[in-house]
């Protein structure tokens, strides 16, 4: 059934059912504790030799996590057992500075992810490869350093740039924003920290790969990006995880501060294995004239609940989200975006494309809020869903709250199925049915795929094709 796709894409076969579904023998994780309490939080903080204010913040996060209710909407999260998760796993004692210093086992892992190639080709500006909660490999191109760009893992950033870190940490997403943000604040580890000085354009995308590698290990990375006035940066995050028998949890927090006239683009292709609960809080604030763009692809995981947000705080700020979700068998992608207009002349747009197949469920959930005083604001939301069989499910839950007269807001959604006409047309030109189906799906998501860096667009297409295998016939 899949032969046509494989012929078209030599190399696809190597990817197999789930390319990243292997696991290295568990060197560090088995000794890590399961469960969460004050002792665990204090221990994480002590091991990282953190300043006291951070320890206090973590404990505040823990206490708020206990108090906050589970979300009263969205996916069924009953599969998560908070007491069966390891909240901190340390894989190597010290950070590696060059590729060769990495342990063989970890190098093998990254070889399969294709990182060294990308590095060799200088496609990436710096690679922060996250392995077992802590960044073990990190390199920044010299020219970026010269420009004053800081690109570090979050733990090191706290040590080396405490002032700027403390000024911005937890300001975009308060500790008690929601249950999972509170959890992340309590036990965060790893993630990326980026500071771009005023006027600096980072021409090449900064990339980081994340992996979960210990069974039941929660990954709680914390990313903080500060784009100073007039700067530009594109950050690319990709996620892959090996398959394990029991469920694991990924709960990240990403905070982005886009200062006056700066522009940040944040791209994610999320491809966790199908037993990961992916509950992520991502939010950016935009000052006057600033632009924030989220490109958010969700292919993997068991359940994803993720709604990247932009708070438009200054005049003429702009927020944009391109979201693509692909829900296969046993998956629920509950994704969307949130735009809050808090200043006049702000604009936002959300474009969402989702595909559900094999009994999967793809939900768009979004919010557009125009606060009083945000006159002359404009927002458009467009959701398209494609259904390729009769057992899958597609939902649209857009919320719109307008408190100002001088605005223009539009939302539109369409749900369609792959028509027999489309299939007939392609098949009459000699394509097999599954090939035709894959082509239609690729065409459907193309407006978003073309916004991705080349290697991610290719990866996305390969993943879609893998997902579509067995979709027909």
């Amino acid at each position: 059934m899949s032969t046509h796709i494989e012929e078209l894409n030599p190399g696809l076969k190597d990817i197999g059912r789930y390319e990243y579904g292997w696991a290295d023998s568990d060197v560090a994780g088995s000794s890590a504790r399961r469960g969460l309490n004050e002792e665990v939080v204090r221990d994480i903080s002590a091991r990282k030799s953190e300043p006291e204010w951070m320890t206090k913040l973590r404990l505040k996060g823990l206490s708020l996590f206990d108090k906050k209710p589970m979300p009263s909407w969205g996916s069924d999260l009953t599969g998560i057992d908070f007491q069966n998760i390891k909240y901190f796993v340390k894989s190597t004692e010290k950070q590696a500075t060059t590729w060769d210093e990495l342990p063989e086992e970890i190098k093998n892992t990254y070889d399969r992810l294709g990182i060294p190639e990308a590095e060799k080709q200088r496609l990436v500006a710096g690679v922060a490869a996250q392995y077992e909660s802590e960044v073990v490999y990190h390199q920044i191109r010299e020219d970026l350093e010269e420009k004053g760009v800081i690109f570090l893992d979050t733990d090191t950033a706290l040590k080396e740039h405490e002032d700027i870190f403390r000024e911005h940490f937890a300001t975009v997403i308060p500790v008690g924003d929601n249950k999972f943000a509170a959890l992340n604040t309590a036990v965060w580890s790893g993630g990326s920290f980026i500071y771009v000085p005023p006027g600096v354009h980072v021409d090449i995308p900064l990339q980081a790969y994340f992996r979960i590698n210990t069974e039941n290990m929660g990954q709680f990375e914390r990313t903080l990006i500060i784009a100073d006035e007039g700067s530009y940066v594109h950050y690319v995050e990709g996620c892959t995880a090996p398959i394990y028998k029991s469920d694991s949890l990924h709960s990240a927090v990403v905070e982005i501060i886009v200062k006056k006239n700066a522009r940040v683009r944040y791209t994610t292709i999320q491809n966790w294995s199908n037993n990961v609960y992916n509950l992520v809080t991502k939010r950016a604030t935009c000052e006057e004239g600033a632009t924030m763009e989220w490109v958010d692809g969700n292919i993997g995981s068991k359940v994803t609940m993720k709604y990247p947000a932009v708070f438009l705080m200054g005049e003429h700020a702009k927020g944009e989200t391109l979201s693509i979700a692909f829900a296969g068998e046993g998956q629920h992608q509950d994704t969307g975006s949130k735009m809050v207009h808090a200043a006049p002349n702000t604009s936002s747009s959300i474009i969402s494309k989702s595909v559900a197949r094999g009994g999967g469920r793809a939900s768009y959930r979004g919010l557009v809020q125009v606060l009083e005083g945000a006159s002359h604001s404009a927002s458009t939301v467009r959701c398209d869903a494609l259904l390729v069989d009769t057992i899958s499910r597609s939902d649209t839950y857009p919320y719109v709250d307008i408190r100002e007269d001088d605005v223009s807001m539009g939302h539109e959604a369409t749900v369609s199925k792959v028509s027999d006409d489309q299939l007939f047309y392609l098949m009459s030109r000699g394509m097999a049915e599954d090939e035709a189906m894959a082509m239609i799906v690729r065409g459907f998501i193309e407006p978003i795929a073309r916004e991705l860096p080349m290697e991610y667009a290719l990866e996305l297409n390969r993943l879609i094709e893998l997902q579509m295998e067995g979709a027909v016939g």
């Binding site: 469960g35 969460l36 309490n37 004050e38 002792e39 823990l62 206490s63 996590f65 206990d66 108090k67 209710p69 589970m70 979300p71 009263s72 909407w73 969205g74 996916s75 069924d76 999260l77 009953t78 599969g79 998560i80 908070f82 559900a356 009083e372 006159s375 927002s379 458009t380 869903a385 259904l387 390729v388 069989d389 009769t390 057992i391 899958s392 499910r393 597609s394 939902d395 649209t396 839950y397 857009p398 919320y399 719109v400 709250d401 307008i402 408190r403 100002e404 007269d405 001088d406 605005v407 223009s408 807001m409 539009g410 939302h411 539109e412 959604a413 369409t414 749900v415 369609s416 199925k417």
Partner: protein
């Protein structure tokens, strides 16, 4: 017990037990409670999904159980149509949909049901008109059951007027091949509160249309729901609302596509004027796995005339099968379009008049669906009366600065922009 009480002083002493199993969110609209049993619905706190936009504090009288009087009932019935009491068990035997919230279940439990019976094969030249008049602010309840016989063709008009605290359940059951239009107007006096659930079980190959026109009342919440008794049903839900300062006008609809080859359309349009005007529209559509060949579309347009008004618009769509004809929704909220206004003013039409024309055009496509000329004219006139007060305020900002302190647009505004 407060949340803080559940925390022990020493977190180490207690494992983290906020079990996720404690709460599973509804995974589909079909999972919400629907029952004739009052105890199935706790008194809303305002945190529930279905009440979160509604000012529940003003509604406690309507959530309380206990028999009460209904509204004064005046009807004009064409030949063949009868109005008679019906027992609760007989009403349920007709297949009426169960109440879906606390107010509706209390209405069903507290009021004696009245059956409006339209015989099979009847083609009524004249509408069935019922005027419900409130005379005070004590709680009242009503349950109207409407049976449209098979292959009948009729129009029912329910007019709500006066001062009332009224909770109402209207249960419509239409026969196979019937064609029924229900028009419900809410033109309450200031200070009235009205919670209504208007349901329809649409027969095989039947056509059903519901038009809600809400202009008066302090809090009005009208939920129009549809389910199908067989394939081929066609349902249209329409709404027009105009909220002034201090009004909360809420319209919700739930179209449950539970049978194959049915169609539905929902179109709601609203205008808001005054700093505290508030409207809510929530349109839920569920296409069940068995509802192959469904064709559905929902549309909501809100026209905000002054600063500080708030319009919420939530079109929810849940689809459990890929074998559908089409499904979609659109929602737009905006202000008057300066270009349209300029166009009209350039042709010598004064601003107030131009604005009136634009608002009339905005609502026209729904109002013309009302099959009674006199009612159409009455509603159009009532909307223009509502609008006149805004036009005055915006054309003469100095005349009433307190009511409209920030009105920036004496120079004009016009219809919603679509995107």
């Amino acid at each position: 017990m407060s949340v803080a009480d559940t925390m022990t002083a020493d977190p180490l002493a207690r494992p983290h037990t906020d079990s996720v199993a404690a709460f599973v969110p509804d995974q589909s609209r079909a999972e919400r409670t629907a029952s004739f049993d009052v105890s199935a619905f706790p008194v809303p706190t305002g945190r529930e999904e279905e009440w979160r936009f509604t000012p529940v504090k003003k509604l406690s009288a309507l959530f309380a159980e206990g028999a009460s009087d209904g509204l004064a009932w005046t009807d004009s019935l064409p030949a063949g149509v009868t109005v008679s009491p019906i027992s609760a068990s007989d009403a349920r035997a007709l297949g009426i949909l169960p109440p879906q919230d606390r107010a509706a279940v209390v209405a069903a439990a507290s009021a004696a049901a009245v059956l409006v019976d339209i015989p099979a094969e009847a083609e009524l030249a004249e509408p069935v008109r019922v005027v419900l008049t409130g005379s005070g602010d004590t709680a009242s309840h009503g349950h109207v059951v409407v049976r449209a016989g098979r292959h009948s063709k009729a129009t029912l008009v329910l007019e709500h007027t006066g001062l009332a605290q009224h909770s109402e359940l209207v249960s419509v059951v239409t026969g196979d091949g019937s064609d029924l239009t229900v028009v419900s107007t809410q033109r309450w006096s200031d200070g009235s509160v009205h919670l209504a659930q208007h349901d329809a079980l649409v027969g095989r190959d039947a056509t059903y249309k519901h038009v809600g026109v809400t202009l008066g009342g302090e809090v009005v919440r009208l939920n129009a729901n549809v389910r199908y008794a067989g394939p081929g049903g066609n349902a249209t839900l329409l709404g027009v609302y105009f909220a002034d300062a201090g009004q909360h006008l809420e319209h919700r609809s739930y179209i449950d596509h539970n049978a194959p080859h049915c169609t539905s359309r929902a179109t709601y349009k609203g205008a808001l004027q005054g700093a505290t005007a508030r409207t809510v529209w929530v349109g839920d559509v569920l296409i069940r796995a068995e509802a192959e060949g469904t064709d559905t579309y929902e549309l909501n347009r809100n026209l905000i005339l002054t600063d500080g008004a708030r319009a919420d618009s939530v079109p929810n769509l849940e689809i459990e099968t890929g074998e559908i004809e089409g499904a979609g929704h659109a929602s737009a909220t905006g202000r008057f379009d300066d270009l349209q206004l300029f166009y009209l003013q350039a042709r010598g039409i004064p601003e107030d008049e131009a604005k009136r024309l634009v608002v009339r055009g905005f609502f026209a496509d729904i109002i013309r669906e009302i099959p009674l000329a006199d009612l159409r004219d009455e509603i159009t006139a009532a909307i223009e009366e509502e609008l006149a007060s805004t036009a005055y305020a915006s054309a003469n900002p100095a005349a009433n600065p307190a009511a409209n302190p920030t009105a920036p647009n004496a120079d004009g505004q016009t219809v919603t922009k679509e995107n």
